[in-house]
């Protein structure tokens, strides 16, 4: 059963990736003008450059062959040549990837730590704590990441001067220091989401009979909460955490641009403004791939967390 489920899911994953890459490649032909002039975007339109582009994108082949060849190059790591930098896209992406990954990791850590923590406290304590958390998360939920970035910049960098206003920093410690405000801006909304999900699903479990039974057997309250309430509430929490990571990835474009971090997201936005299409294609593919893979991982983890759910029967509970 698990093998069948895995094959089905992997086939679905492959289909989505192929379709998405087809879209990203075919976009070239949706653009106004011929593909090679579009790729050069008015730069150095001499015959040699045009010929180089035609060769690189196999533009003399039939469309489907072009696509297959292009996809083959992408998969083997040949992401093409940046029009703006005149160097391989792979190298440009590699240089910017660590900062972005660190930003996403820090934000994800914040989201899980504060999301689950605040939801837990809010569900267990109730009363004034609960109300305070509810008000706080309402504010967080209404604040998109770029607005949070602007407000945090104003408060902590300009007014208080605690954090740098721009740049990604050098070395790990300095990078973490530079990425503190950005990761807060990025995670704020998702902390709100995860807090609400944790709170709701824990309250849901708290009201169930098995919790009453556990309590009446004299099991300490802490253990009841940890082993009986939280454990059962983990399903919705993990699903939402997966969504969180995909959400964080696309929002890096906004936060990195606001803080001038020079990461992958900012690179994508810049490349669009300067019409560096090979870079846009490569980063878009990367983001979609990440999106799909994260969804698959969450699907695979779900039955491990909640054994009542078999593979392929997600949400049938």
């Amino acid at each position: 059963m698990i093998a069948g489920f895995l094959t089905r899911r992997l086939a679905g994953l492959a289909a989505t990736l192929v379709a998405a890459s087809f879209l990203v490649f075919g976009a070239l032909y949706l653009a106004p003008g011929s593909p090679e002039t579009f790729l050069l975007a008015g730069r150095a339109a001499n015959p040699e450059a045009l010929a180089a582009i035609r060769a690189q994108y196999h533009l003399d082949d039939p469309f489907l062959i072009q696509y297959v060849k292009w996809l083959g190059q992408m998969v083997t790591g040949d992401l093409g040549q940046s029009v703006q930098y005149r160097s391989p896209v792979l190298g440009l992406i590699e240089a910017r990837l660590p900062g972005t990954l660190l930003l996403i990791a820090m934000s994800a850590l914040l989201v899980v730590l504060f999301g689950v923590g605040l939801g837990w406290i809010s569900a267990v304590r109730g009363g004034a704590t609960d109300s305070a958390v509810l008000v706080g998360t309402t504010v967080a939920l209404g604040t998109p990441s770029f607005v949070a970035a602007i407000v945090l910049l104003w408060l902590f960098s300009v007014k208080l001067g605690w954090f740098p206003t721009i740049g990604g920093g050098q070395g790990l410690a300095d990078m973490i220091y530079h990425l503190t405000l950005p990761s807060v801006a990025l995670s704020l909304y998702w902390i709100g989401v995860l807090t609400r999900v944790t709170r709701t699903s824990m309250l849901d479990e708290l009201g169930r009979e098995h919790v009453e039974v556990a309590r009446s057997r004299g099991i300490p309250e802490r253990t009841v909460i940890r082993r009986h309430v939280l454990r059962n509430a983990l399903g919705p929490i993990s699903t939402m955490s997966g969504l969180t990571i995909s959400g964080l990835v696309i929002s890096t474009v906004l936060v990195e641009s606001a803080f001038g971090l020079g990461g992958l997201g900012e690179f994508l936005a810049r490349s669009v403004s300067v019409k560096d299409f090979p870079v846009v294609q490569a980063i878009s593919l990367l983001i979609v791939a990440l999106f799909v893979v994260v969804n698959l991982v969450v699907d695979l983890l779900y039955p491990l967390i909640d054994p009542r759910v078999g593979y392929g029967a997600r949400g049938a509970r």
């Binding site: 969504l243 696309i250 474009v253 906004l254």
Partner: protein, 285 residues
């Protein structure tokens, strides 16, 4: 009929209430923003693109009640006129995605079979593309301006509408009155257009109102990146972008005010849409 749930992004759905006070306040605010957008040119005290370099980076003054940005453009006038572009983009997105989504969803639900499978699979594929990424890709292809992001985001919002319309159609076609029309020999098209769509319209429109808020957010995000509206057009998102320099030099108004307006408008649209959806759901029950 089981009330089909609206598709919301995780998050904003939690900001909902059955209290009428908040709903009425939000409705009033939405109305106010729309009216201001309509009559903005007559309200604005100055030309939004007129640069008064003497006023750049100064505090609010009688000449510029909310100050001016780094190029000395009047913040109040830009906020007022910016409401036009900030609402026009989402309006286009919602109109496009609603019409197209209803067509796709009703067709899929009514016809079933391979058409349903094909349409449902393609909308799932669209969901694999984050909306913002699709918009960025379209801007990369067609250049800046309102049209490219509006088309891209309409496609990104289409699955939310079409899935809702499909599930509504599926439950609605079970009902006797539609069977009665069919027995009388009305064509499928005429039943759908004249009877089915009017009946599912309230729920779909509630979903579209919720979508309006999200679309405004996405458009503002694009303009913030400098990929939305053309440079000279006043717009809340691009105001934040331009205002950031002034903010870093200690004059935050021209960046923070559009932030506030965006957040409040999005929340207001969301509350109104949710309230409508709740009301429709109660009536159905």
């Amino acid at each position: 009929m089981t009330a089909a749930a609206l598709t919301r992004r995780p998050g904003l759905k939690h900001i909902r209430t059955r209290r009428n006070g908040l709903y009425l306040t939000c409705l009033a605010f939405v109305g106010l923003v729309v009216v201001v957008a309509l009559i903005a040119p007559w309200l604005a005290p100055a030309d939004p693109n007129a640069t008064d370099l003497g006023a750049a980076l100064t505090d609010p003054s009688p000449g510029h009640p909310l100050g001016a940005d780094i190029a000395g453009r009047d913040t109040l006038s830009r906020l007022l006129l910016g409401s036009r572009t900030s609402l026009l983009g989402p309006l286009g997105i919602v109109a496009f995605s609603t019409v197209l989504g209803v067509v796709v969803g009703v067709t899929a639900g009514w016809r079933g079979g391979w058409i349903d499978t094909a349409l449902s699979r393609s909308s799932e594929l669209l969901l694999a593309f984050p909306g913002l990424l699709l918009a960025i890709l379209f801007v990369a292809l067609y250049g800046e301006g309102l049209l490219a992001p509006v088309v891209a985001l309409s496609l990104a919002y289409l699955p939310f509408v079409s899935r809702l319309a499909r599930s509504l159609t599926l439950s609605e076609r079970q009902r006797p009155y539609l069977a009665a029309y069919r027995v009388q020999g009305f064509s499928g098209l005429s039943i759908c257009v004249r009877h089915l769509i009017p009946n599912i319209a309230p729920v779909v429109l509630a979903q579209s109102t919720v979508n309006f808020g999200y679309a405004l957010l996405d458009m503002a995000a694009l303009s913030f990146l400098g990929l939305g509206v053309p440079p000279l057009t006043p717009d809340w998102g691009s105001m934040i972008n331009a205002g950031q320099t002034a903010l870093l030099q200690g004059k935050p108004l021209s960046a923070v005010l559009p932030c506030v307006l965006i957040v409040v408008t999005v929340v207001a649209f969301n509350v109104v849409g949710e309230h409508w959806a709740d009301r429709v759901a109660r009536r159905e029950r």
